[in-house]
Amino acid sequence: MTDSWIKVADEGAVADGGLLAVYPCGLGLLLVKAGGTVYAVANRCAHMACPLEAGACDGFVITCPCHDWRFDVRTGAFVEAPEISIPTYPVRVAGGEVFVEL
Protein backbone atom coordinates (compact mmCIF):
# COMPACT_ATOMS: atom_id res chain seq x y z
CA MET A 1 0.00 0.00 0.00
CA THR A 2 1.15 3.54 -0.72
CA ASP A 3 1.61 6.16 1.94
CA SER A 4 -1.79 7.69 1.29
CA TRP A 5 -3.49 4.70 2.94
CA ILE A 6 -3.75 5.32 6.64
CA LYS A 7 -4.82 2.87 9.29
CA VAL A 8 -7.82 4.29 11.11
CA ALA A 9 -9.22 1.42 13.17
CA ASP A 10 -9.22 -2.27 13.91
CA GLU A 11 -11.89 -4.01 11.87
CA GLY A 12 -13.59 -5.30 15.00
CA ALA A 13 -14.17 -1.77 16.24
CA VAL A 14 -16.93 -1.19 13.66
CA ALA A 15 -19.98 -3.37 14.12
CA ASP A 16 -22.37 -3.99 11.22
CA GLY A 17 -24.83 -1.08 11.14
CA GLY A 18 -22.51 0.78 13.49
CA LEU A 19 -20.67 4.09 13.26
CA LEU A 20 -17.18 5.00 14.38
CA ALA A 21 -15.67 8.50 14.29
CA VAL A 22 -11.97 8.53 13.38
CA TYR A 23 -9.51 11.37 12.86
CA PRO A 24 -6.68 10.43 10.46
CA CYS A 25 -4.32 13.41 10.11
CA GLY A 26 -6.87 15.43 12.07
CA LEU A 27 -9.55 14.92 9.43
CA GLY A 28 -12.96 14.04 10.87
CA LEU A 29 -14.18 10.87 9.19
CA LEU A 30 -16.94 8.45 9.97
CA LEU A 31 -16.61 4.72 9.39
CA VAL A 32 -19.87 2.98 8.66
CA LYS A 33 -20.25 -0.76 8.29
CA ALA A 34 -23.22 -1.66 6.15
CA GLY A 35 -23.97 -4.93 4.40
CA GLY A 36 -20.68 -6.32 5.70
CA THR A 37 -18.60 -3.57 4.01
CA VAL A 38 -16.85 -0.67 5.71
CA TYR A 39 -17.39 2.79 4.18
CA ALA A 40 -15.73 6.09 5.09
CA VAL A 41 -17.49 9.42 4.76
CA ALA A 42 -16.88 12.92 6.10
CA ASN A 43 -18.20 13.19 9.64
CA ARG A 44 -19.91 16.44 8.79
CA CYS A 45 -23.39 16.97 7.41
CA ALA A 46 -23.59 18.87 4.12
CA HIS A 47 -26.44 20.92 5.53
CA MET A 48 -25.13 22.70 8.61
CA ALA A 49 -21.95 20.76 9.37
CA CYS A 50 -23.41 18.73 12.25
CA PRO A 51 -21.28 15.72 13.20
CA LEU A 52 -22.92 12.63 11.72
CA GLU A 53 -21.52 10.26 14.35
CA ALA A 54 -24.55 10.75 16.60
CA GLY A 55 -26.85 9.85 13.73
CA ALA A 56 -28.43 6.53 12.86
CA CYS A 57 -27.61 4.16 10.05
CA ASP A 58 -30.30 2.10 8.35
CA GLY A 59 -29.03 -0.07 5.53
CA PHE A 60 -26.74 2.17 3.49
CA VAL A 61 -28.40 5.38 4.64
CA ILE A 62 -27.13 7.51 7.48
CA THR A 63 -29.44 10.14 8.99
CA CYS A 64 -27.99 13.32 10.49
CA PRO A 65 -29.09 13.79 14.09
CA CYS A 66 -29.63 17.54 13.67
CA HIS A 67 -32.19 17.90 10.87
CA ASP A 68 -32.57 14.38 9.48
CA TRP A 69 -30.69 14.93 6.22
CA ARG A 70 -30.01 11.45 4.82
CA PHE A 71 -26.92 10.31 2.93
CA ASP A 72 -26.04 7.11 1.09
CA VAL A 73 -22.72 6.02 2.59
CA ARG A 74 -21.72 4.28 -0.66
CA THR A 75 -21.75 7.49 -2.72
CA GLY A 76 -22.12 10.28 -0.16
CA ALA A 77 -25.24 11.47 -2.01
CA PHE A 78 -27.98 13.32 -0.14
CA VAL A 79 -30.95 10.99 -0.65
CA GLU A 80 -33.47 13.76 -1.33
CA ALA A 81 -31.21 15.63 -3.79
CA PRO A 82 -28.13 13.78 -5.06
CA GLU A 83 -26.69 17.05 -6.41
CA ILE A 84 -25.61 17.56 -2.81
CA SER A 85 -23.24 15.11 -1.17
CA ILE A 86 -20.72 14.53 1.57
CA PRO A 87 -17.17 13.45 0.67
CA THR A 88 -16.43 9.71 0.62
CA TYR A 89 -13.04 8.03 0.96
CA PRO A 90 -11.76 4.70 -0.36
CA VAL A 91 -11.51 1.99 2.29
CA ARG A 92 -9.48 -1.21 2.42
CA VAL A 93 -9.61 -3.84 5.08
CA ALA A 94 -6.47 -5.95 5.43
CA GLY A 95 -5.15 -8.07 8.24
CA GLY A 96 -8.06 -7.14 10.49
CA GLU A 97 -7.30 -3.43 10.12
CA VAL A 98 -9.21 -0.67 8.35
CA PHE A 99 -7.28 1.70 6.06
CA VAL A 100 -8.58 4.87 4.46
CA GLU A 101 -7.03 6.61 1.47
CA LEU A 102 -6.76 10.36 1.92
Binding site: H47, M48, C66, H67, D68, E80, A81, E83, I84
Partner: protein, 112 residues
Protein backbone atom coordinates in the same frame (compact mmCIF):
# COMPACT_ATOMS: atom_id res chain seq x y z
CA UNK B 1 -30.23 43.56 13.36
CA UNK B 2 -29.89 41.56 16.56
CA UNK B 3 -29.03 38.29 14.83
CA UNK B 4 -26.75 39.71 12.18
CA UNK B 5 -23.84 37.33 12.76
CA UNK B 6 -25.98 34.21 12.66
CA UNK B 7 -27.90 35.47 9.64
CA UNK B 8 -24.59 35.93 7.84
CA UNK B 9 -23.48 32.44 8.88
CA UNK B 10 -26.72 30.90 7.59
CA UNK B 11 -26.21 32.70 4.29
CA UNK B 12 -22.72 31.20 4.01
CA UNK B 13 -23.98 27.71 4.86
CA UNK B 14 -26.93 27.78 2.47
CA UNK B 15 -25.41 29.46 -0.60
CA UNK B 16 -23.50 26.40 -1.91
CA UNK B 17 -26.41 24.07 -1.14
CA UNK B 18 -29.02 26.04 -3.05
CA UNK B 19 -26.48 26.69 -5.81
CA UNK B 20 -26.18 22.94 -6.34
CA UNK B 21 -29.99 22.77 -6.57
CA UNK B 22 -30.15 25.47 -9.26
CA UNK B 23 -31.27 28.26 -6.94
CA UNK B 24 -29.77 31.44 -5.52
CA UNK B 25 -30.62 33.98 -2.84
CA UNK B 26 -33.31 36.39 -3.91
CA UNK B 27 -31.86 39.61 -5.32
CA UNK B 28 -34.37 41.42 -3.07
CA UNK B 29 -31.81 42.15 -0.37
CA UNK B 30 -34.29 43.58 2.10
CA UNK B 31 -36.47 40.49 1.88
CA UNK B 32 -33.46 38.17 2.20
CA UNK B 33 -32.17 40.02 5.27
CA UNK B 34 -35.59 39.92 6.92
CA UNK B 35 -36.11 36.19 6.25
CA UNK B 36 -32.61 35.24 7.40
CA UNK B 37 -33.11 37.18 10.60
CA UNK B 38 -36.41 35.35 11.21
CA UNK B 39 -34.61 32.04 10.65
CA UNK B 40 -31.86 33.01 13.09
CA UNK B 41 -34.53 33.80 15.68
CA UNK B 42 -36.37 30.54 15.00
CA UNK B 43 -33.13 28.62 15.32
CA UNK B 44 -32.45 30.26 18.66
CA UNK B 45 -35.97 29.88 20.04
CA UNK B 46 -37.31 26.74 18.32
CA UNK B 47 -34.10 24.80 17.65
CA UNK B 48 -33.76 25.01 13.88
CA UNK B 49 -33.87 27.63 11.11
CA UNK B 50 -37.39 26.74 10.06
CA UNK B 51 -39.08 28.34 7.07
CA UNK B 52 -40.63 31.58 8.39
CA UNK B 53 -43.70 31.03 6.20
CA UNK B 54 -44.59 27.43 7.07
CA UNK B 55 -46.03 26.23 10.33
CA UNK B 56 -44.50 23.54 12.50
CA UNK B 57 -46.61 20.56 13.49
CA UNK B 58 -44.37 19.19 16.27
CA UNK B 59 -44.16 15.96 14.28
CA UNK B 60 -40.48 15.55 13.50
CA UNK B 61 -40.98 13.87 10.13
CA UNK B 62 -42.87 16.95 8.97
CA UNK B 63 -40.96 19.67 10.76
CA UNK B 64 -37.60 18.54 9.40
CA UNK B 65 -38.95 19.07 5.87
CA UNK B 66 -39.40 22.79 6.53
CA UNK B 67 -35.88 23.45 7.84
CA UNK B 68 -34.16 25.88 5.49
CA UNK B 69 -33.18 25.29 2.75
CA UNK B 70 -36.26 23.10 2.35
CA UNK B 71 -36.07 23.00 -1.47
CA UNK B 72 -35.18 19.26 -1.64
CA UNK B 73 -38.43 18.35 0.10
CA UNK B 74 -40.64 20.59 -2.04
CA UNK B 75 -38.78 20.42 -5.33
CA UNK B 76 -41.67 20.03 -7.78
CA UNK B 77 -43.65 22.81 -6.13
CA UNK B 78 -40.77 25.27 -5.92
CA UNK B 79 -39.48 24.44 -9.41
CA UNK B 80 -42.95 25.26 -10.76
CA UNK B 81 -42.99 28.62 -8.91
CA UNK B 82 -39.29 29.26 -9.65
CA UNK B 83 -38.96 30.32 -6.03
CA UNK B 84 -39.21 28.73 -2.62
CA UNK B 85 -42.32 29.40 -0.59
CA UNK B 86 -40.95 32.22 1.59
CA UNK B 87 -39.03 33.69 -1.34
CA UNK B 88 -35.57 33.53 0.22
CA UNK B 89 -34.42 31.57 -2.83
CA UNK B 90 -35.28 31.92 -6.51
CA UNK B 91 -34.24 29.94 -9.58
CA UNK B 92 -30.78 30.97 -10.69
CA UNK B 93 -32.12 32.64 -13.87
CA UNK B 94 -34.63 34.88 -12.07
CA UNK B 95 -33.75 38.57 -12.12
CA UNK B 96 -37.03 40.09 -10.90
CA UNK B 97 -38.44 38.11 -7.97
CA UNK B 98 -41.39 40.53 -7.81
CA UNK B 99 -42.83 38.73 -10.82
CA UNK B 100 -43.06 35.39 -9.01
CA UNK B 101 -46.30 34.79 -7.13
CA UNK B 102 -46.89 32.30 -4.36
CA UNK B 103 -49.04 29.51 -5.77
CA UNK B 104 -50.39 26.78 -3.53
CA UNK B 105 -49.06 23.33 -4.36
CA UNK B 106 -52.63 22.06 -4.72
CA UNK B 107 -53.33 24.67 -7.43
CA UNK B 108 -50.38 23.33 -9.37
CA UNK B 109 -51.60 19.77 -8.95
CA UNK B 110 -48.60 19.01 -6.76
CA UNK B 111 -48.67 17.32 -3.40
CA UNK B 112 -47.51 19.99 -0.95
Amino acid sequence: MAHEARSAALRELFAPLVGALGYKFTPDQELADFLLEQEAVLEETKGAPYCPCQVRTHRREHDMTIVCPCIPYHRAHFDAMRRCWCGLFVHRDVTDPGDLPQIAASELGIEG
